[in-house]
């Protein structure tokens, strides 16, 4: 039998504390990215902002959306979807970055 049919009846009980810590982390990252934007780093502004946003996004997906505790199939799904999107972006820029 494949993993896809594995049953996942028992919801994973995550302690409240984890959510509160995650929230604190997300808030501090938000404040950090705002602070960095005031530092006026010119060329680095956008990459830094995007990196912080991606980090926040990962945290939300892993804990708030419990991907960390999900069936392995959903991991693959997520990789496929995000991978497809990233390739769309890269290939669009195969045109625009040379124009």
């Amino acid at each position: 039998m494949s993993q896809a049919n594995d049953h996942h009846d028992e919801p994973h009980l995550i302690p409240y504390k984890t959510y509160i810590l995650v929230w604190l982390g997300l808030c501090s990252l938000t404040l950090l990215t705002v602070a960095v934007s005031y530092a006026n780093m010119r060329h680095m502004t956008i990459p830094v902002a995007l990196m912080v946003a991606s980090l926040k996004c990962t945290i939300v997906v892993l804990w708030f959306m419990h991907i960390k505790f999900e069936n392995r199939v959903l991991w693959w799904f997520l990789i496929a979807a995000v991978g497809t999107y990233v390739i769309f972006v890269i290939l669009t820029f195969a045109d625009y970055s040379y124009r």
Partner: protein, 222 residues
């Protein structure tokens, strides 16, 4: 089902999916299927906003300085405040699920109410922000905007389109949370049957995720 047909060794083996219905393989309550379906739906949302982010990226690449000039016209403290509001609502949504998993129905409803409050606050702040821009004559098709550089016109066009579409998702999400609240109240959603709430939570976190990217790209590129 006629008895003559059950020449089978499989009938004794409990199938994973038919714990609810008597028939084999009739889709009943299958939390994993619902969650999988929800994630697939979230991917469509991801690609929908993703396409808009591609548009944004292309014009950011083309008009990098004009986008910076547009960005400084947006109010960073308000944007930051709204980001924190949404993050908080995401946490209370997650907490509401965790609380209901432990059977605390009343507390779960309170947390959902708080989440709804955050959603409302976000929309109110957003509408004031838009209103402020409108007062300064910055709205799609305005003469004031037409007098700006092409890059700034695109920047504000995208600003209104993307934050508008996001606000629409906030409103839809709030509606879903209201529905979920009613179903918890009526007892249709409870600790053993929580997938519905889980899925609405996932949707709400997605709304948060989109904003996590919208905020720095619009407010902080200046």
């Amino acid at each position: 089902m006629s008895d003559s047909a059950s020449i089978t060794t499989g009938a004794e083996k409990p199938a994973a999916h038919d714990d609810h219905h008597g028939h084999y393989g009739v889709p009943g309550y299958d939390p994993a299927a619902w969650k999988m379906g929800m994630w697939l739906f979230l991917f469509t949302e991801l690609l929908l906003f993703g396409a808009m982010f591609i548009v944004f990226a292309v014009y950011l690449h083309k008009y990098i300085w004009q986008f910076a000039a547009g960005s400084v016209q947006l109010d960073i403290p308000i944007g930051t405040f709204n980001t924190l509001v949404l993050l908080t609502s995401s946490m209370t949504m997650a907490l509401a699920i965790a609380v209901l998993q432990r059977g605390k129905k009343e507390l779960a409803i309170k947390l959902l109410d708080f989440t709804l409050g955050c959603a409302a606050l976000f929309c109110v702040v957003k509408s004031f922000e838009w209103g402020g821009k409108f007062e300064h004559g910055i709205y799609p098709g305005s003469l004031h905007l037409a007098a700006m550089t092409l890059g700034e016109q695109i920047f504000f066009g995208l600003y209104f389109t993307m934050t508008g579409l996001h606000a629409l998702h906030v409103i839809v999400g709030a509606g879903l949370i209201l529905w979920c609240r009613a179903r918890i109240k009526s007892g249709a959603v409870h600790a053993e049957r929580i997938t519905f709430m889980d899925n609405i939570g996932l949707y709400w976190h997605l709304v948060d995720l989109v904003w996590i990217f919208l905020f720095p790209l619009f407010y902080l590129v200046g």
